[in-house]
């Protein structure tokens, strides 16, 4: 071994290099306050290693970016851990950068002859922030997509070159493949390359001028190895432990639903350490954003870079330290304001809840037997009744109807309830309520409609109220029979079990007791029917046809009460009507269910 090492030393001089590195003098001996630079180098090394491995599985295009990150997070061995490590180490770096900056400014390590080293440090700070800005978009999820759109829109307000600059960064007129290829190249190539170059310069300059000891010195000088190395290692260990805590606690990094430019995202926020800028922007009315987004941050940065010169004056150092504290306090205050405002904003909280719902749902769909189509995972959500049903309902139906008392999305619509509550529509319970004298003209059914005192209520209120026990049993089997027409997923088992009752109910529909066919038609064509067809009542075909045109003779005809013909009037597309119908019928893909998605 030794001859080989000597041979190598003769050619490379590595022994001297190592000796210089390890036995660098630490004036006043090892101290904890000198660890920040080393922890940052350590974090950067983690980022390079984890980033390279992530790169092996990442695919930068609008149809594959989210999908590959999903695959890393949910399918690959330990992928969530790798992603989490990368994500939380990035957060740790930001914190450590601030700590390092504080130590340098407070200890006066920026003063001559270390100006250039200080500036390379400030540059490194900016480059690391640029890394996190570019990395935020790469998963191509809703959060990253919308936050990055804000960031690049801010670029566009740069005087003169703004719009061109934005177009260059985005790689075109709109967000897409080139945005991702460019952000990836910046994130994994240009910026890290620059960081490595500046770290080398930074450390070289640091070695050239030596460490700035904090006075008074605690003990005599000591070499870097092993005392300071041990301090640094323990500090790195603490950083890693903190990172691992978050990685395990949150099972890797968050991944929102895939980016969808047609799906507004009220929960869009930048990373927490950019929240102060986000908040600052709120105070600058339209047309003056430049001052908040560029001028003020630029001014602060200019003062930071001027610190070595300011520090030469008598009170300069005090000013610098005071300025730093004031700046940090301002950042902290703005961050707190941003967080606090969000915490009390019901719209934001609802948006976050919806985002979490979508994020969970898309993973369920991606793991379904059909997998992710080549059009990307965003199609999964767009074609999913569970996702789109409530949205369409809230936007189109909830002005009159209710779903479980609300608008389907968990909100409460304004205004009075004007039509039935459709939760469980066509189920046995729902029909039993409709045929309950106490409920038929109540708000859940016809209470808000013009049918309040119409034939149905006229039948249910006096007649059903006076039913004998036997007649009530007959009515119940009719309910079971009509509900079976819907073929609801949730009633598959009871419908199969109650075949005999269904048979009986079908026969009873036209008896003198129940006499549905006085107004409704049921499997036998009836030109004189005045009320909705009970043939296939609540089935997908029935519901789609109903929503398409409720005033069709098959349904309410000219008696229709206010309900728009969503399909006939082209208010909703056929696809949207299908989604609402599927959702109302509780028919969407669920893991573990035997049958696939309804197409």
């Amino acid at each position: 071994m030794k001859p080989a090492l000597d041979w190598l030393d003769h050619r490379t001089g590595w022994k001297k290099l190592l000796h210089e590195a390890l036995f660098e003098n630490v004036p006043g001996g090892a101290r904890w306050r000198y660890v920040w630079g080393s922890t940052l180098t350590f974090c950067f090394a983690i980022q390079v290693v984890t980033g390279l491995f992530l790169w092996l599985a990442y695919s930068a295009s609008a149809q594959t970016a989210w999908e590959s990150v999903y695959y890393i997070q949910h399918e690959m061995w330990g992928g969530w851990f790798l992603r989490g490590l990368h994500h939380y180490t990035a957060q740790a770096m930001t914190v450590l950068l601030v700590l390092h900056l504080m130590q340098v400014v407070i200890d006066g390590a920026y003063k001559a002859p270390r100006e250039v080293n200080f500036w390379t440090g400030v540059l490194l700070l900016l480059l690391v922030l640029a890394l996190s800005l570019t990395g935020y978009l790469l998963p191509w999820d809703q959060k990253g997509f919308w936050a990055s759109r804000v960031a690049t829109s801010i670029v566009a307000i740069t005087p003169l070159v703004g719009p061109a600059l934005q177009k260059l960064i985005v790689g075109g007129n709109d967000y897409g493949h080139f945005t991702l290829t460019r952000f990836l190249a910046l994130h994994a190539g240009f910026i890290p390359g620059a960081i490595i170059a500046f770290i080398v310069a930074h450390i070289w300059l640091f070695r050239r001028h030596g460490l700035t000891p904090k006075e008074p010195r605690k003990s005599s000088d000591a070499p870097f190895w092993p005392g300071q190395v041990l301090c640094d290692a323990v500090a790195c260990l603490a950083v890693l432990a903190a990172v691992l805590f978050f990685v395990v606690r949150y099972h890797g990094a968050e991944l929102d639903a895939p980016a969808d430019p047609s799906e507004p995202f009220g929960a869009a926020r930048p990373e927490w350490y950019f929240l102060f800028l986000f908040q600052l922007l709120k105070y600058f009315p339209g047309g003056t954003e430049f001052w908040g987004a560029m001028f003020i941050p630029g001014l602060l940065l200019a003062v930071l870079c001027a610190m070595p010169f300011i520090g030469k004056w008598k009170l300069g150092h005090r000013f610098n330290v005071g300025f730093l504290w004031a700046m940090l306090a301002g950042v902290a205050l703005l961050t707190w304001l941003a967080v606090n405002e969000d915490r009390h904003n019901p719209d934001y909280l609802a948006a976050v809840a919806a985002a979490e719902r979508d994020a969970e749902r898309v993973v369920v769909l991606a793991q379904s037997p059909d997998g992710i189509p080549q059009t990307g995972a965003v199609t999964l959500l767009r074609n999913d009744a569970f996702t789109q049903g409530p949205r369409l309902f809230a936007a189109n139906c909830a002005s009159c109807h209710r779903f479980d008392g609300g608008d389907g999305l968990g909100g409460t619509p304004k205004g009075k309830i004007g039509a039935s509550d459709l939760k469980g529509f066509a189920s046995r319970e729902w029909l039993a309520g409709l045929l309950d004298p106490a409920q038929v003209d109540g708000p859940h059914y016809f209470g808000g409609t013009k049918f309040k005192d119409d034939d149905m209520a006229q039948f249910v209120k006096p007649e059903v109220a006076g039913f004998s026990a036997e007649q009530k049993a007959q009515l119940q089997s009719v309910i079971v029979a009509i509900s079976a027409e819907a073929g609801l997923k949730s009633q598959r088992a009871p419908d199969a079990r109650d075949a005999a009752i269904i048979d009986q109910g079908r026969r009873l529909i036209s008896t003198a007791t129940v006499r549905c066919n006085d107004c409704h038609q049921f499997h036998v064509e009836d030109k004189n029917a005045t009320a909705p067809d009970l043939t296939g009542y609540g089935s997908r075909e029935w519901l789609v046809a109903f929503i398409t045109d409720p005033a069709h003779p098959r349904f309410y005809g000219k008696d229709n009460d206010r309900m728009p013909a969503f399909g006939a009037d082209k208010r909703l597309s056929p696809q949207e009507i299908n989604l609402v119908a599927d959702w109302l019928r509780g028919d969407w893909y669920e893991p573990g269910a035997k049958e696939g998605k309804t197409k």
């Binding site: 210089e20 003098n25 004036p27 290693v49 599985a57 690959m76 061995w77 189509p373």
Partner: protein, 182 residues
Amino acid sequence: MAHPPTVPPPPDRRDFLAQAAAVVIGGALALVAPAAGLFVLFDPLRRKAEGGGAVWVASLAALPESGEPRQFPVLATHVDAWNRTPNVRVGAVFLQRLADGGVRAFNASCPHAGCFVGFRADKNCYLCPCHNSTFELDGQVKDRTSPAPRGLDDLPVEIRPGGEIWVRFQNFRPGEKERVPV
């Protein structure tokens, strides 16, 4: 370099504990990120190829009566990491009518290194355009000097009612004497 004037003496034995601790902690720190990465790197090793089910390839009527082989694409569900695409071309086979009324199927992939072989009607044999392996109509290596280690890979064929030809499509590892499914 402008070093400070006092170069401290090298550490003595009392530093041993500190040295050992620094080495141990440093080693542990260096391990975490690469270890996490290696798991992801090796993930493909645990993924088995899907397929091997019979798929419809062509109808009997499409095969020349003369017994000359013809190439057909194979449509199946293609799984590519996160994407699952039904009904896309996943490979190709040569189908040949046999004298006994049966049908023979070869995977069109060359067993040498995986190029697609072609049928040369003039020489009445299969020829690989990459390194010139030749194969007989029955799939055996024709020219002894061919670099292919084995004959063409035949695939189980089923003729279903209506003259439908169904093939159990599979890929095999190229370059090996024995057939090993991928």
